[in-house]
């Protein structure tokens, strides 16, 4: 009897692991579909618009239909934690981890209209969280700060993220776009992704913190409102 129960428990555990693995694979397929194939299709569509109208008419409807399918599959495949937890709790989770793993005290300020949050795609939410994660990694590794503050503001057309700390600052190296001990490679990678999403990424002045990364990500761009 005991052995039978053990088998049942093992079976559940194994099938859960399988399911978890499935999700990881699906999620990365979703990202590839969206970030690479989706972008290539957009470029292709732009190229086609330069062709003769009668040729365009033959190709464009099929292309649009493929694009739509890819987008739906990508979204379907990309359901992970942020869908469960929402943007704020996910961000709080990152800040909680960062504060716990360092001696730096962290806070988050946000003003978010729930309805607006519902309109944001998984990809955009994920990018927002990746930005926060990289910003925090940078603070923990390089800033020698004693406190940091993350703010998250959802506007109708864009999301503003600021990641501020009272540490040594990364102004000089950042301006020269040199990857150094102080800046790290993570932020540069993020900056490229923000650029691809037609967002902006800057170091801004503040009278309260020595370093403030200010990021704006348009909501429509990654939501496929094209």
């Amino acid at each position: 009897m005991e052995q039978l129960e053990q088998y049942k428990t093992n079976l559940i555990s194994l099938s859960e692991k399988l399911e978890k693995q499935n999700r990881v694979i699906k999620s990365s397929i979703g990202d590839i579909l969206h970030d690479e194939i989706g972008q290539q299709l957009t470029i292709l569509k732009l190229k086609i618009t330069h062709l003769e109208p009668h040729i365009q008419d033959k190709i464009l409807p099929d292309l649009l239909s493929i694009q739509k399918n890819i987008r739906e599959i990508a979204h379907d495949f990309s359901k992970t934690q942020v869908d469960n937890l929402g943007l704020i709790t996910s961000a709080q989770g990152l800040i909680n981890e960062a504060a716990k793993n360092s001696d730096i005290s962290g806070n988050i300020d946000y003003s978010i209209d729930n309805e607006l949050e519902n309109n944001i795609s998984f990809q955009t939410k994920n990018l927002v969280l990746n930005c926060i994660q990289e910003g925090l990694n940078n603070i923990i590794k390089h800033s020698r700060a004693s406190k940091f503050l993350v703010t998250l503001t959802i506007h109708e057309d864009n999301i503003d993220i600021s990641i501020a700390d009272d540490g040594i600052g990364l102004q000089n190296n950042f301006d020269k776009m040199v990857i150094t001990e102080e800046t790290g490679i993570g932020l540069f990678r993020i900056r490229e992704r923000i650029k691809a999403a037609k967002g902006s990424f800057d170091l801004v002045d503040s009278d309260e913190y020595s370093t403030v990364l200010f990021i704006t990500i348009p909501i429509g761009e990654l939501n496929g409102k094209d």
Partner: protein, 217 residues
């Protein structure tokens, strides 16, 4: 003795059958109905009126969290215990904050699952065997992240007040940037910070607030 009536949903058939199998050996718990998504929970809750809802989090159609929010609107005493492969601290906080009673890992055994269901049934919280103190410590830590207790956390800085005075005159970020000698993006960042501090969610409300409180004339 009447058994504890459980309504159970999981979209993974093998897991569902496995858990039902485990619970079928329990002396004080019975699975009264099962489903494979949040919609099933919403549909079956009024029919079954379960003592405890045992639910997966991520499910097709409607998640367990969304089902909980919906059911609580009509049945505020509903007791939800989540069964999931996710059990990090943010999940504990999320479940607590939306009115759930517990979380147990799917790698569980019949004893722990029985204990979790009994604890939730008796009005307690069960989060993977953590003590009440540990649970409250996590909740407190998460709440503190967002409710800065330090003095003046919601007060505007001198520069922010200056920006509000300019905003009240209807000036754009570009104009304000030139006026006070900082970059436009710094003005944008300050506007966002102000909105967060004042818990304002739209630019229109920000402008109205600026006009009401920071007009110089």
């Amino acid at each position: 003795m009447e058994k504890i009536k459980v309504l159970f949903a999981d979209d993974h058939n093998l897991v569902r059958q496995g858990i039902i199998g485990l619970l079928s050996e329990s002396e004080d718990i019975m699975v009264a109905a099962e489903g494979e998504c949040g919609r099933d929970l919403i549909e079956k809750y009024p029919l079954v009126m379960p003592d405890v809802v045992l639910s997966d989090i991520t499910m097709r159609n409607l998640s367990g969290f969304d089902a909980l929010k919906e059911i609580l609107k009509t049945y505020p005493d509903a007791k939800f215990l989540f069964l999931s492969m996710f059990y990090s601290e943010e999940y504990i906080y999320k479940i607590y904050s939306i009115g759930g009673k517990g979380l147990i890992s799917k790698d569980t055994n019949v004893n722990d699952l029985g204990l979790a269901i009994n604890t939730v049934y008796n009005g307690g919280y069960y989060f993977n065997g953590l003590s009440d103190e540990e649970i409250m410590e996590i909740i407190g830590r998460f709440e503190a992240l967002s409710n800065r207790s330090r003095e003046g956390a919601s007060e505007l800085s001198p520069r922010e007040k200056k920006i509000m005075r300019h905003l009240s005159k209807g000036k754009s970020s570009e104009e304000i940037a030139i006026e006070i000698g900082i970059g436009k993006r710094s003005v944008d960042a300050a506007r966002s910070a102000i909105m967060n501090k004042l818990k304002i969610t739209t630019s229109a409300k920000l402008l109205a607030h600026a006009v009401e409180h920071y007009s110089v004339d």
